[in-house]
Amino acid sequence: MFSDIAQYFRTESLPHIWCPGCGNGTVTAALVRAIKNLQLEQNNVVIVSGIGCSSRMSGYLDFNTQHTTHGRALAFATGIKLAKPELDVFVVMGDGDCAAIGGNHLIHAARRNIDLTALVINNGIYGMTGGQSSPLTPHDRRATTMPFGNLERSFDLVELAKAAGATYGARATAYHNQLLTKLLIDAYNNHGFSLVEAVAQCPVSYGRRNQFQTPAAMVMWQKEHGIKVGQHSISGEDFYIGEIFRAEAAEFCAEYDRLRQRLQEDMPNG
């Protein structure tokens, strides 16, 4: 199963740090399959990640990879993409990384509509630090810092990206990983800021505290609650999967390049 994509991994960096049953591996494979399917030149691909369990993904992949600081991956990626727009830049973040500490960078990357493909692995918890609540922890669910159940409401990141000006937004799960690959391909092909949320299980820091007996039970929860867009309305912990929105807007690097051209044309002779 792995051999079809082994060439994209730094196999010497394995084993990975993820716990047994974690969804990060499935999401990683979905991303790599998208890159393979797109036939992107390995030397031209950049994977930028933040800090968290999910963000360790960049180290395992054989591309130009950067593991940055907590929440700031999109800001680093903005610099890379603007400096060298011909690079194919993917940004991998956890839900806490992207929605809490990095929330401001998310809305501004979306507002600029810069051509980055952002993948947020949403396990609904801070995995790396041991299970504290995140802005995407579902209401009433337990976390070490919400020991009596989450009092806060959770974000819908895809809607947030849409409101901020992103031009592509989609969601899938570790269970729906073939769909995830397809959505990542579409996201890459969108010339602008794209956000794909991948709902994934964290059996150790989330599942144990929230009555999931096994990782498989969490994957079944994804199957049950992930509702295809247009299928039927959602309630409770349900969420939509599939392509959620698509829009047209000028892409930032291209806009900037048009400015350069214009100024060069305006330049007086001599």
């Binding site: 031209n44 960049s58 700031r72 501004h108």
Partner: protein
């Protein structure tokens, strides 16, 4: 042909950066540094470069590092509160050895402090503002001409030694207008690229000495960049031997090159019976005070560190028991470094923190007072 122009300090910084080959600027507006961003916004797109106003200083620092990894010489400029926000990613640049330049036009602090008043309160923050032991280079210009020149030096040092370089400007130098001689050509240093084929490339190896060659993203040398402690291949490690090896190289990588990095100026020191050690705009008042003292028969001299960090220790060898006065617009920061070298006994701090400049008469009065005591 060289050209002379009347320029503002901040403008000279921008011009120097462009002359040094910088083609990427990311920043966030803050007084008294904003003119640097404004000049860059106007100039960079004409030169095929990129200016971006980010959502905050954290993002600006991140974007600068990203652009440098992609192979473009990059800088940011900020002040006070913004410099505080840059610290985490500044440490990241030090740990990952990404060349970049940060201009900090100092203003009165702490906190929002005195936004439009001069101060030299960021000397220690520039050295130790980010967490953990790390290398850093900090330069302090005294004039507009020197601001132009030192930005070029900053880029050259950053590229040669793969280290973030901070230009610690004084507000009055940033906003001062002076004549600047722009040379027809400037000497530019570019980062060393790998000469081995990709399969033999180790991005943090020490087989080329203390400063590993750097491969830009997209150049065919796929590798990992992380702020975690890493091995020679850039991969995270907690192996104590490898951790030690990495941190020792990182923290000592500038040592063999200190003569080139630690810049200074000495005036009238040979026969001096009292030394004034001053930097930035304060050194201008100090020089005036030295002349005032000399005219009244006191043999005073000036030592001006241009590089504050690493402090030019090898060059500053004061005679035993000679009094040293350190005027600074803070509660006494660089004076600690002088005490380390000369001992507590002969070192006198002259501090001013009211948002006004230290005047030549203030310093010459201190010289007379100190001389009358010894």
């Amino acid at each position: 042909m060289s050209e002379a122009r009347l320029m503002q300090g901040n403008e000279a910084c921008a011009a120097g950066a462009i002359a040094a080959g910088a083609r990427f600027f990311a920043g966030y507006p803050i007084t008294p540094s904003s003119e640097i961003a404004e000049f860059m916004a106007e100039q960079l797109p004409r030169l095929g470069g990129t200016f971006i106003q980010m959502e905050d200083e954290i993002a600006s620092m991140a974007a600068v590092i990203g652009a440098s990894l992609a192979g473009v010489k990059s800088l940011t400029a900020t002040s006070g509160p913004g410099f505080s926000l840059k610290q985490e990613n500044l440490g990241y640049a030090a740990a990952t050895e990404v060349p970049c330049v940060i201009i900090n036009v100092q203003r009165g602090g702490p906190s929002t402090g005195l936004p439009t008043s001069p101060a030299q309160g960021d000397v220690m923050q520039a050295r130790w503002g980010t967490h953990g032991d790390h290398p850093i280079i900090v330069l302090s210009p005294a004039t507009v001409q020197e601001s132009y020149e030192l930005v070029i030096t900053a880029f050259n040092l950053a590229e040669e030694f793969r280290v973030p370089v901070i230009l610690l400007l004084d507000e009055v130098v940033g906003h001062l207008r002076e004549r600047v001689n722009l040379p027809a050509t400037v000497q530019i240093v570019n980062r060393k690229k790998p000469e081995v084929p990709p399969e033999r490339f180790s991005p943090y190896g020490d087989d080329h000495g203390m400063i590993p060659p750097m491969a830009n993203f997209g150049a065919g040398y796929r590798h990992h960049v992380t702020g975690l402690v890493h091995d020679v291949n850039g991969m995270p490690t907690v192996n104590p031997a490898l951790v030690t090896k990495f941190l020792l190289r990182l923290n000592h990588k500038l040592d063999p090159y200190l003569a080139k990095i630690s810049l200074y100026e000495q005036i009238l020191l040979e026969d001096a019976e009292v030394i004034v050690l001053a930097y930035g705009c304060t050194a201008r008042a100090a020089l005036e005070a030295v002349y005032l003292a000399r005219s009244s028969g006191i043999k005073a001299g000036l030592f001006r560190p241009i590089t504050l960090w690493p402090f030019p220790e090898a060059a500053f060898v004061p005679r035993q028991n000679i009094p040293i006065i350190v005027p600074e617009m803070n509660c006494g920061q660089l004076v600690g470094e002088v005490v380390k070298i000369a001992g507590r006994h002969n070192v006198y701090s002259l501090s001013r923190i009211d948002g006004e400049l230290i005047t030549p008469t203030q310093i010459s009065a201190k010289i007379s007072e100190v001389i009358s005591r010894v």
